[in-house]
């Protein structure tokens, strides 16, 4: 796998949206998932014709939206897959 840093292809929200998400979104989201290393915000996003799950990293200001097929695909990945993604792009 390449060590090059790929440019995020996902849409980045405006800064206003970054700072003003509701803290308690219930099961619908936004839900904050955080540990001492990083925090991300997860929420359901309705598109005109269906649903996506948005994963948004406020500090990085990066955002990605996965549909059900993409999420299903994530559900059966080995932990090593994430390790390899982090190996590819650990940086800022």
């Amino acid at each position: 796998m390449s060590e090059a840093v790929p440019t995020p292809q996902a849409e980045n929200p405006d800064d206003g949206e970054v700072l003003h998400y509701p803290r308690d979104g219930g099961n619908e989201g936004p839900i904050v998932i955080a540990n001492e290393f990083v925090d991300v915000v997860v929420r359901k996003v309705e598109t005109r014709n269906g649903m996506r799950l948005e994963i948004y990293s406020p500090r990085r200001n990066a955002c990605v939206r996965f549909d059900a097929v993409a999420l299903d695909c994530l559900s059966y990945q080995e932990p090593e897959f994430i390790t390899s993604l982090l190996a590819r792009n650990p940086g800022p």
Partner: protein, 438 residues
């Protein structure tokens, strides 16, 4: 880890201390002494098997806690594969602390300085600007977190910094028989009830380790209010009854206090007592069914205590278990970690009651804990005074006791409970380590 040489005078002094122990003499100053502390860091804590965590503190993948061996901060983590790994909590790039939180969950750790990323098992996986900066000169396989050797017994995770230390089973040397009382309460074993109470105290770790290796002698005096107010089911007239059991040459010891007429397994819920009768060996059942108080230390600094404690004075006691780690942070200064262990399969109601009994007696503000620490802090202070340099303490109680021939448990077991034999064993083991005979 290499040990630094100390002066020949200090070596001779340690030899002299070692020779005094079998004769029932041990010096006061070792309980508060900078040089002793420094030597202990390298010769005891860097060599022995030291307690790190209970497996139930990190039940799920990615769970971690940070703990110490000597002055080394370690990450104890359950990897995504389910195995437990201990690593030095220091980034290999420039030494930043990786995990600043004492507990958490993370599949990967990312350094907050330059961003190196490690798996929670310690392998280095990600380096920012790898290609641009390192030009192929850095092999990630060489720069993982520093590993610490671990082994477990019945849920206890131990680590050692000594690659040549014997296996943990051999190190425990039969003391497992007694540890099972605390660790195998029922067929699914024991678990921690929440995170440990954790505080700094002005006492030396050795005073606490000695007390918990079976000091039944202090109980009716130091804890007399517990007796008099009806919190604790023992009486001054019979309190000396029971056994002192130690594993010779290993340093581990346990006091087993017995109250005449005490119903077998009193203080345990009935189902749990039945379960223990089934899951423990007949010898263990014989010993534990008669035990009111079990208070023991695994050399060097891990201790346990089980006893019934009445939540309402005069009412029947509730059994609780406290597990405690005395982490030395300076001469006469200790970081205490104190857990409540409960039987995993017990009812929520019993777990809650046991935790209440523990909190009242032995949590940071517990009555018994306060009684002990008041005394230990003053012992520590005295031990650091100039005149104490030449003072020795008598450890001659039970010097001529012959082992109890009818006792079914392992080790050197003598009566009565009120006895120094466990302490002589503890300090002779300590002296072995201090003089390089580990």
């Amino acid at each position: 880890m290499a040990t630094r040489p100390i002066g020949s005078g200090a070596e001779a002094e340690l030899e002299r201390i070692r020779e005094g122990v079998p004769h029932g003499r041990f010096p006061a100053h070792v309980f508060n002494d900078q040089e002793i502390f420094d030597v202990e860091q390298e010769r005891v804590f860097a060599k022995a098997w030291c307690f790190l965590a209970h497996e139930s503190e990190i039940p799920n993948r990615g769970d971690y806690v940070t703990r110490y061996i000597a002055n080394n901060n370690l990450i104890v983590a359950r990897a995504e594969s389910g195995e437990i790994h201990a690593s030095l909590n220091m980034c290999r790039h420039r030494g930043n602390m990786m995990c600043k939180s004492e507990m958490g969950n993370a599949s990967h750790f990312r350094c907050s300085y330059h961003g190196w990323v490690y798996k929670n098992s310690g392998e280095l996986v990600g380096v920012p600007y790898m290609k641009e900066g390192y030009e192929g000169r850095l092999d990630k396989r060489d720069w993982g977190l520093i590993k610490v050797r671990t082994e477990t017994y019945a849920g206890l995770v131990f680590g050692t910094l000594d690659p040549n230390a014997p296996p943990l089973d051999e190190y425990l040397g039969g003391f497992q028989f007694y540890l099972d009382l605390y660790l195998k309460q029922g067929s699914s074993g024991s678990e921690v009830h929440g995170p440990p109470d954790h505080w700094v105290t002005e006492t030396d770790w050795k005073i606490a380790a000695e007390n918990f290796s079976g000091d039944g002698y202090h109980t009716p005096v130091a804890h007399q209010f517990g007796f008099n107010l009806g919190y604790f089911a023992s009486s001054g007239s019979t309190h000396s009854q029971g056994w002192a059991a130690s594993i010779p040459g290993r340093g581990h010891g346990i006091g087993l206090g017995h109250t005449p007429g005490f119903p077998p397994f009193a203080g345990f819920p009935e189902e749990l007592a039945d379960e223990m009768r089934r899951s423990l060996s007949p010898e263990q059942v014989e010993v534990f069914s008669q035990t009111r108080t079990a208070v023991g230390t695994v050399f060097p600094n891990l201790s346990f205590l089980m006893q019934p404690f009445s939540i309402v004075p005069g009412e029947a006691g509730v059994r609780f278990v406290t597990m405690r780690l005395y982490h030395p942070i300076g001469p006469g200064r200790t970081e205490m970690y104190s857990w409540c262990l409960v039987p995993k399969d017990a009812s929520e109601e019993y777990k809650r009651e046991a935790y209440r009994a523990y909190t009242l007696a032995f949590a940071q503000a517990g009555t018994f804990e306060q009684d002990d620490l008041e005394n230990w802090a003053r012992v520590t202070r005295s031990a650091g005074s100039n005149m104490a340099r030449d003072v020795e303490f008598p450890y001659v109680m039970g010097m001529d006791s012959v082992p109890d021939p009818d006792f079914p448990g392992p080790g050197h077991v003598v009566k009565p409970y009120v006895n120094d034999s466990n302490f002589r064993n503890l300090w002779s083991r300590w002296s072995d380590y201090m003089t390089g005979r580990e």
